[in-house]
C-alpha cells in the first residue's frame, strides 16, 4: 500500500523525470540488442534497425506506461483545466458574465460571513473560552431573565457552587473616568471588576500584573490596568507601571497594561479598576437587593454546564430560604458565555447569512444556465470527442472542470470583493455596537476557508446541469442534426427552464424578506417618539463626584451652562435631562402609590430628572396638570408622570394630586412625591419598543452628576456644537463632554440596526432580482435564437409579429408564474424566522407578498420582451437563405 502511494506520488511529482527514465531504459535496451545483433554478424546500421523493429512501438509503450502509473486522472485533470481555460477564454462575454456574477455573490457572502465569524464563530479571546459561563438572575414577577446579579448573591454562588473553578463579576454599564492626556481632560470608559477578573478569563496582562482577590475590597489605594490603546495614548512609557497617575483627580496606581486588543467587556473599554467594595457595604441589605453585576464563572474541568446549572439552581433555592426578604422570587441560571455575548445579534446575522446564501444560489443557477448555453453551442465538439472515443466520464469531468475553473476564479475575485465588502459593512454598521459587539470584522483564515468551500460547492452545484447533459448525449445524434430541433436541445431547454424558474422563486423569497423589512422600517420611522427630534443639539456631561459633591455645585454648574447656551444665537429653548430618550431605559425602581392597596406592583418605574424647560424644549405635550417650574426647588417634592403610567395605574382617575414614592414597602423614611402633571410618553429605548411607565422629577429637587444638555435651535443644531464646547471649557477646563450629537442622529441610531438589516437584505434582494431577470432573459434569448428559423417561416407565411412575440412572451410568463408560485411557498415558509425582527408587520403580510409577486412577474415579462421583439423582427428571407 505504502509502496503504491510512494509510486503514485513520485509519478505525479516527477512525471517528466519518469518519462525520461523510461526513454533511457528503452535506449539501453536497444543499444544492447544492437550489440547482440552486431555480434550475430549484422552491419551496425542493420543491427540498430532490427533492434528498433523488434522493440515495437515506443510511443504506445510510453502511453501505456504513463497510464500504468495509475495517475492518469491527474494528468487528465491538468489537461481538463488547461482546456477549460482555453474554452472559457473563447467565449469571453459569457465567461466574464459568469465570473462577475459569482464574484459579486461570493463577495457578498464572504463579507457577511466575516461578520458572522466575528460574532458567532470565532472563539472568544480567552483561555479555554468554552469553559466560561455567564450567570444571570431570573425573577418571574419582574420578568427578569438573565438579569444583573446582586453582589451578595455573587459571593454566595462563588462560595457554594462546587462546579465552579472560580467566579468573577464586573459592572457592565457605561462607567467613565477623566484622565489628563497631553494636558487635555479625556473621558475614558472604565470597567469595574472583581479582583479575579483577569485570572478567571485567563488573560495575562501584557506588562505588569492584573488584580488580586484582595482588590475586590477597598484597599485604600485605587489601582488600574490600562488598555494597550490608552497606554499608547499616554506615550507607551514602560515605567508607568508602579507609578501613580491622577484619575478623576485621585492618585491611582497603574499595576498593568492589558494585552493589545483586549477590551472585554465592551469594545471601547480603556481602563479596568477593581470594584473596591467596603466591608460595611457588604453587610447592608442593598448588597443583596440591588442588582448591578454581570457574573462570569469558569467551570471546573469535567463539570458540564448542565451540572453546574443544576448546582447553581440548588444554591439559589437555599438563598430563597435564607434571605426571604430579598431572594423570595430570585432564581439563577447560567448560559455559555459566547452565546450570551452574541445575544440579540444572532438572529439578524443569521437572517443576513440566509439572505446572502439565497443570493448565492441564484448566482449559481445563473452561471449554470450560462454554462449550459455554452455547452449547447459546443455540442458538435462534444459529439466529435465522444465519437472519437472519449469516455462518458471523461466528458462529464471536462464539464465539471470548467465549472470548477469558473468557481475558482469567481471565488478568488469574490474574496477580493469580500475584503471591500467588510470595509463597507464596517461603515454601514450601527455605531453603537448593537449589531456587532466586536470591533474587528476581518477576513481571517476561517472566512477564507469558508469562501473556498462555498466556491467549490458552487462549482459542483452549477456544474451538475451541464455535466449531466453532456453525459446523456448520444454522439450520433449531435453529429447528425445541426443545431436546430434536436433532442439534445430539448434537454438544454428543459434544464434552462428549471433553472430560470428556480431563480425567480429564490429571488421572490429574498425580495419578500426585503419587502417585509422595508415595510417594518417604514412603520418604525412613522412612530411618533413622543417628542420632536428636529433641530435639537444634545451634549452629555458627567461631573466628577470628587470635585462637585452632591448638591449645590452641580446645580450651579448646570444653571450657568444652560444660561450661556440660552444666550447663543439661534437657540430658542435649552434644558438638561438625566437621560435622553431613545437611548437606554436607565434607572428604575419599584414604587408605591399612596392609598393604593398592596403597593407592590411587580413592575419597575423608570425615573429621570429634568430642568423646568425640558418638555418645552423637546415639545413633549402636557396632558393634565402643570409643568415642572423653577418654583419646584425644595420641598414639597413633586413629580410629573408619563401618560402610559397614568393610563395603566390610575384607570381613569385623575392622577394629579396623588402621591407616589420609589419604595416597594414605604416606611417613615420614604420620600413621597405629589404628582403635579401628566405628560406625553417618550419612547425610552427605540421607536419599536413601547414606552414604559416613567416618573420625572425636578433636577432642582434631586441633582445628578451626569446630565445631557438639550438645546432647540432655529438652524442647523450642529453649528452650535463648538459654542457649547467652549462654554463647558470656560466653566471647567478639566471637564470632558462625553458625547455631542443631534437628537435626530440619536433617533437614527436607535433604528440603526433595523436600517442596517433592511439596507443589506434589500441590496441582496435587488441583486437577486437582477440576476434572476438576467437568467430568464438568457434562457429565452437562447430559445428565441433556436427558433429563429421557425419564426422566420411563420412570418413568411403571414403570421402577425404580435403572435410571434407571444410565443416567446408566453414562455417567459410561464417561467414567471411557476417561479412566483414556488417562491411564494418558499417565502411563506421562510419569513416566519423574521417575525422577531419585524415591527408591526406580520411575516406573512399579504400586501408585501402581493406587491413583490407582481413586481417579479412584471420583471420576467420585461425580460422576455426583448428576445420576443427580436424574433418578431427577423428577416424571413435572410433566415431561409441560411440553409
Amino acid at each position: 500500500m505504502l509502496s503504491k502511494l510512494r509510486y503514485a506520488l513520485a509519478s505525479v511529482l516527477r512525471s517528466g523525470r519518469m518519462n525520461r527514465a523510461l526513454d533511457d531504459e528503452i535506449a539501453h535496451h536497444i543499444a544492447l540488442q544492437t550489440e547482440q545483433n552486431i555480434a550475430n554478424g549484422m552491419t551496425p546500421g542493420e543491427a540498430h534497425r532490427q533492434a528498433v523493429l523488434a522493440f515495437g512501438s515506443v510511443q504506445s509503450l510510453r502511453e501505456a506506461h504513463r497510464d500504468g502509473r495509475g495517475t492518469r486522472w491527474l494528468s487528465d485533470l491538468r489537461a481538463d483545466v488547461r482546456h477549460s481555460f482555453r474554452t472559457l477564454a473563447r467565449t469571453r462575454a459569457l465567461t466574464a458574465a459568469a465570473i462577475l456574477t459569482l464574484a459579486l455573490a461570493i463577495g457578498a457572502d464572504s463579507s457577511v460571513y466575516s461578520a458572522v465569524n466575528a460574532v458567532l464563530v470565532r472563539p472568544l479571546p480567552f483561555r479555554r473560552p468554552e469553559r466560561l459561563v455567564l450567570i444571570g438572575e431570573n425573577n418571574k414577577d419582574f420578568l427578569w431573565h438573565m438579569a444583573d446579579a446582586a453582589p451578595a448573591n455573587y459571593f454566595d454562588w462563588r462560595a457554594r457552587v462546587a462546579g465552579f473553578q472560580d467566579v468573577m463579576a464586573y459592572v457592565h454599564f457605561g462607567l467613565t473616568a477623566t484622565l489628563m492626556i497631553d494636558g487635555t481632560p479625556r473621558l475614558v470608559p472604565v470597567a469595574r471588576v472583581t479582583g479575579n477578573f483577569f485570572s478567571v478569563l485567563g488573560v495575562v496582562p501584557e506588562r505588569g500584573e492584573g488584580f488580586t482577590d484582595a482588590d475586590t475590597w477597598d484597599t485604600g489605594t485605587p489601582r488600574i490596568v490600562l488598555s494597550d490603546r490608552l497606554w499608547t495614548a499616554l506615550g507607551r512609557d514602560p515605567t508607568i507601571i508602579g507609578r501613580t497617575i491622577p484619575v478623576d483627580g485621585r492618585a491611582t496606581l497603574v499595576v498593568g497594561v492589558a494585552p493589545r486588543g483586549f477590551t472585554f467587556p465592551q469594545p471601547n473599554i480603556d481602563l479596568w479598576s477593581p470594584v473596591g467594595w467596603s466591608k460595611d457595604d457588604a453587610a447592608q441589605v442593598f448588597f443583596r437587593r440591588a442588582h448591578w453585576l454581570r457574573v462570569i464563572a469558569r467551570l471546573k474541568s469535567g463539570v458540564s454546564a448542565e451540572q453546574a446549572n443544576a448546582q447553581l439552581r440548588a444554591v439559589a433555592e437555599q438563598l430563597k430560604i435564607e434571605y426571604p426578604a430579598t431572594n423570595r422570587i430570585m432564581e439563577a441560571e447560567l448560559q455559555p458565555l459566547h452565546r450570551f455575548l452574541a445575544g440579540d445579534t444572532r438572529l439578524p446575522l443569521l437572517v443576513l447569512l440566509g439572505a446572502v446564501t439565497l443570493l448565492l444560489l441564484i448566482a449559481c443557477a445563473n452561471v449554470a444556465s450560462l454554462s449550459l448555453i455554452r455547452a449547447a453551442s459546443r455540442s458538435r465538439e462534444i459529439a466529435i470527442r465522444a465519437a472519437l472515443g472519449a469516455g462518458r466520464s471523461r466528458l462529464v469531468r471536462q464539464a465539471f472542470a470548467e465549472s470548477l475553473v469558473l468557481s475558482a476564479v469567481g471565488g478568488a475575485a469574490g474574496l477580493g470583493l469580500g475584503w471591500v465588502g467588510t470595509r463597507i459593512l464596517t461603515l454601514l454598521l450601527p455605531p453603537d455596537g448593537s449589531l456587532l459587539p466586536v470591533d474587528t470584522v476581518a477576513l481571517d483564515w476561517r472566512v477564507t476557508l469558508y469562501v473556498v468551500g462555498v466556491s467549490l460547492a458552487c462549482g459542483m452545484l452549477f456544474g451538475i446541469a451541464p455535466a449531466v447533459w453532456a453525459s446523456r448525449r448520444a454522439p450520433g445524434d449531435a453529429l447528425a442534426t445541426s443545431s436546430r430541433g434536436s433532442s439534445a436541445n430539448v434537454q438544454v431547454r428543459r434544464w434552462g427552464a428549471r433553472l430560470a424558474v428556480a431563480e425567480v422563486a429564490i429571488a421572490l423569497a429574498l425580495s419578500v424578506a426585503a419587502g417585509l423589512l422595508v415595510r417594518s422600517y417604514a412603520k418604525l420611522q412613522g412612530v411618533d417618539p413622543g417628542f420632536d427630534p428636529t433641530n435639537v443639539l444634545t451634549a452629555s456631561i458627567e461631573l466628577p463626584g470628587n470635585r462637585y459633591g452632591d448638591g449645590a455645585p452641580i446645580r450651579q454648574f448646570y444653571d450657568q451652562l444652560l444660561e450661556r447656551v440660552r444666550g447663543f444665537p439661534g437657540v430658542t429653548d435649552a434644558a438638561a435631562v438625566t437621560r435622553l430618550p431613545l437611548t437606554e431605559p436607565g434607572w428604575s425602581s419599584a414604587f408605591s402609590i399612596a392609598g393604593a392597596s398592596g403597593g407592590n406592583f411587580g413592575a419597575s418605574l423608570l425615573h429621570r430628572q429634568v430642568t423646568p424647560d425640558y418638555f418645552r424644549t423637546l415639545r413633549v405635550p402636557l396632558r393634565a396638570g402643570r409643568w415642572i417650574t423653577t418654583a419646584d426647588a425644595g420641598p414639597p417634592y413633586v413629580v410629573v408622570i408619563n401618560d402610559v403610567f397614568a393610563r395603566e395605574y390610575f384607570k381613569g382617575a385623575d392622577p394629579v394630586g396623588q402621591r407616589i414614592c420609589f419604595d416597594q414597602q414605604p416606611d417613615s423614611n420614604s420620600t413621597w412625591r405629589t404628582i403635579v402633571g401628566v405628560v406625553g410618553s417618550e419612547h425610552q429605548v427605540t421607536p419599536g419598543t413601547a414606552p414604559e411607565i416613567e416618573a420625572i422629577a425636578p433636577f432642582a429637587q434631586e441633582a445628578s452628576h451626569a446630565m445631557s444638555v438639550v438645546a432647540r435651535t432655529r438652524g442647523d443644531p450642529m453649528a452650535l456644537a463648538p459654542l457649547v464646547r467652549s462654554a463647558v471649557r470656560d466653566l471647567d477646563p478639566q471637564l470632558a463632554i462625553t458625547r455631542i450629537e443631534t437628537l435626530s442622529d440619536i433617533r437614527a441610531t436607535s433604528m440603526a440596526r433595523d436600517r442596517f438589516l433592511m439596507t443589506l437584505v434589500s441590496m441582496f434582494g435587488m441583486l437577486g432580482v437582477v440576476l434572476a431577470v438576467i437568467g430568464v432573459y438568457g434562457v429565452l434569448a437562447e430559445l428565441a435564437r433556436e427558433r429563429m428559423r421557425e419564426m422566420g417561416i411563420r412570418l413568411a407565411l403571414g403570421a402577425q409579429g404580435r403572435a410571434v412575440q407571444w410565443l416567446i412572451v408566453r414562455r417567459g410568463l410561464l417561467f414567471g408564474a411557476a417561479g412566483v408560485g414556488l417562491g411564494l411557498a418558499l417565502a411563506l415558509a421562510g419569513t416566519r424566522g423574521l417575525a422577531r425582527l419585524l415591527f408591526q408587520v406580520p411575516p406573512s403580510d399579504p400586501l408585501t407578498f402581493a406587491v413583490v409577486a407582481s413586481a417579479l412577474l412584471a420583471a420576467t415579462i420585461v425580460a422576455s420582451w426583448l428576445p420576443a421583439w427580436r424574433s418578431s423582427h427577423v428577416d424571413p428571407v435572410a433566415i431561409l437563405r441560411e440553409e
Binding site: S3, L22, E25, H29, L32, F55, S60, H65, G68, R69
Partner: protein, 110 residues
C-alpha cells in the same frame, strides 16, 4: 526472430519476470534475454509488455529498481525481487503448476 515463436501467455509474464529476477537482479533487456534462453528460444517477449509488467510489479511492491552501472559502464535500470515479490513468486508458481496439471488432465481425457 522466427515468426512462429509464441507470445508469452497473457498473465504469465509477471511470473516469468519474477522467476528471472529471483536468480539475480537484472535490467530489462537482460530479463528478456534470460526468458528467451530459459525457454530455449521458444517464448518471445513483447518488449512493450515487458516494461509494462515491470511497472506493474514495481507499483505493487513486488520488485524495486535502481539505476546502476553495468559491467561495461553503461547506466541501466536494474530490478530486484523484494520479500513481497518472493512470496508472490512462490504462490504464483504453485498456482501455475496447479493450473498446468489441471489443463493437462483435461487434455489427456480421451
Amino acid at each position: 526472430m522466427p515468426a512462429e515463436q509464441p507470445d508469452v501467455l497473457r498473465g504469465t509474464l509477471d511470473l516469468l519476470v519474477l522467476k528471472t529476477l529471483a536468480l539475480e537482479p537484472m535490467h530489462g533487456w537482460g530479463i528478456a534475454q534470460r526468458i528467451e534462453q530459459f525457454s530455449r528460444a521458444t517464448l518471445r517477449i513483447n518488449q512493450g509488455s515487458l516494461y509494462l509488467a515491470l511497472q506493474r510489479l514495481e507499483r505493487s511492491g513486488s520488485i524495486d529498481a535502481e539505476w546502476r552501472a553495468t559491467d561495461n559502464n553503461r547506466r541501466a535500470r536494474f530490478y530486484r525481487l523484494t520479500p513481497k515479490g518472493q512470496r508472490l513468486l512462490r504462490s504464483e508458481t504453485a498456482a501455475w503448476q496447479q493450473y498446468v496439471t489441471a489443463v493437462t488432465w483435461v487434455l489427456q481425457t480421451t
